[in-house]
């Protein structure tokens, strides 16, 4: 069964490429009726305002809300996280439509503009436990949002420390994370609630496909086909044998 990738705008090709490396076919979703052909959905990174506008033009929101309500697995990265959140602050004048479903508050462009975009090694115990590999994950934050607070049934998978005055110097913030976390403010950057997964960073921009296989497992737990889970676990074995691609992840 194919995984849908919302292909309105943004890094959908990168997601499909990551899925392909795991041996799974990604289907581009641009219209509401195309959602019927998939059992799980990835909402990629991009400009959330643009994606919201495009979804609105083609009347995608009701279908997407329905999809989430049915309990089908949905994963949002960056802009996708904003889409899934129940509440978002820092929106453009007039606000934007959201899908909702994820019990949390998200702040758009939390870290600032492009100059404040950064890479960081995130500690991801949950992912490392399930998918193996190193205990950290290289998160690429591009004008990223952050999760300010979460509801009680939301599981936090990763967070990042920032200095309380929200300075742009995230590097030093990371260093001090190692030393002490007392004076630092933590913001959440990856969460899971039921079948909803959301990350503020972009796993599709790195060669590490552990988040993708984590999501596929979530999806296969929901799906009943035994053959599917068999095939994904097989892929996981072959994954680490493949040479790591050091090239940009493009289609």
């Amino acid at each position: 069964m194919a995984v849908g990738v919302l292909a309105l705008q943004g890094s959908f090709n990168e997601h499909i490429a990551a899925l392909r490396r795991l041996g799974v076919k990604g289907v581009q979703i641009r219209k509401p009726e195309q959602l019927h052909s998939v059992t799980s959905l990835i909402i990629p990174g991009g400009e959330s305002t643009t994606m919201a506008k495009l979804a609105e033009y083609h009347n995608l929101f009701p279908a997407l809300r329905e999809f989430v309500k049915l309990g089908k697995p949905v994963w949002g990265t960056c802009a996708g996280l904003i889409f899934l959140a129940d509440k978002a602050s820092g929106q453009k004048t007039g606000g934007q439509e959201l899908i909702g479903g994820l019990d949390c508050t998200v702040h758009r462009n939390f870290f600032g503009s492009q100059l404040q975009s950064f890479e960081a090694e995130l500690s991801v115990p949950e992912i490392a436990a399930k998918e193996g590999g190193p205990p950290t994950f290289r998160g690429v934050f591009i004008r990223a949002p952050a999760i300010l607070d979460v509801g009680s049934d939301v599981e936090v998978l990763a967070d990042i420390c920032i200095q309380s005055d929200k300075t742009s110097d995230l590097d030093s913030a990371l260093e001090s994370q190692k030393e002490s976390t007392t004076s630092e403010k933590k913001v959440i950057v990856a969460v899971k609630q039921g079948n909803l997964l959301a990350t503020a960073f972009h796993p599709e921009l790195t060669a590490d496909t552990r988040w993708h296989s984590f999501f596929l497992k979530m999806a296969s737990e929901v799906g009943d086909e035994a053959s599917r889970s068999a095939s994904t676990s097989q892929e996981d074995l072959s994954f680490y044998k493949q040479p790591r691609n050091d090239l940009p992840i493009f289609q």
């Binding site: 943004g10 990174g45 643009t50 975009s117 090239l247 992840i249």
Partner: protein
Amino acid sequence: MAGTGVVTVYGNGAITETSKKSTFSVKVGLAQMLRGGVIMDVVNAEQARIAEEAGACAVMALERVPADIRAQGGVARMSDPQLIKEIKQTVTIPVMAKARIGHFVEAQILEAIGIDYVDESEVLTPADDENHINKHNFRIPFVCGCRNLGEALRRIREGAAMIRTKGEAGTGNIIEAVRHVRSVMGDIRVLRNMDDDEVFTFAKEIQAPYDLVMQTKQLGRLPVVHFAAGGVATPADAALMMQLGCDGVFVGSGVFKSGDPARRARAIVQAVTHYSDPEVLADVSCGLGEAMVGINLNDAKVERALPLYIGKDFRFYTWGGPITVLETCFGEVDGGVAAAAVNQVLKPLK
């Protein structure tokens, strides 16, 4: 680094990033987020809002759109930082601004304002006729124009994190953009089918660094995001560029020089998303009002823009015809000198 990195274009290459905080992958990352989107030229906060409402994925803050630069002539420079700041405060989408080719201080100023992307643009009057900005020295990412594969890869080597075609800015005529996209894509197709042994000579011929040529061959595409620009005026133009293989579209004068900017902007945004769906394209193309007037480059009144090469990559768009038109030449270094030079070249053609 090895093994963890991915989007690093340079891998273990010779050029190291001078800035610690913004790696090349972070710079390319934003461009990747813009894929499948439309970047619109705006001259004030109000237009920026219209663009944002229409679904533009970024705006380019300018004092004059290319069509006006063409019409008014004179030296075109970086916009007033005040204007750029105002636009930045108005919208939440990324804001880009143009710096003159080779004018690294303008780029430093733009970086200081904290915008999201710098366009080192041939639309403005070049400040340096031989060298481009060394874009590795900046934390802010750059987008540069190109006409062919060699030029694109030279710009990437200089640190550009995004490439766009040059096209013929401000004309509303797509022909040059098509020529440039076809040239880049065609060269990549040739390169893909080439024996590895032949790549050395090919790299020399197109005057591009060997490692980037080889990387392009392996990827089968440019190693950074590739947008189309210059002459896009209708949703069909935008979809054409997407079908030719571009990752997204810049629309300059096409939106705000047309009859109904909001509607046209929205139609172009939709056309870029649904570029391969003629039914949607037909739907969004209906009743958009007047398109920008445009300039037909083969029009008898306007002689074909004459390419004038200075250095390797600079193209000075100059028009033949009456001397009054010549003086409004586009991208002139020095009005008088350029006009005289064009007259010299034009004579044998006439």
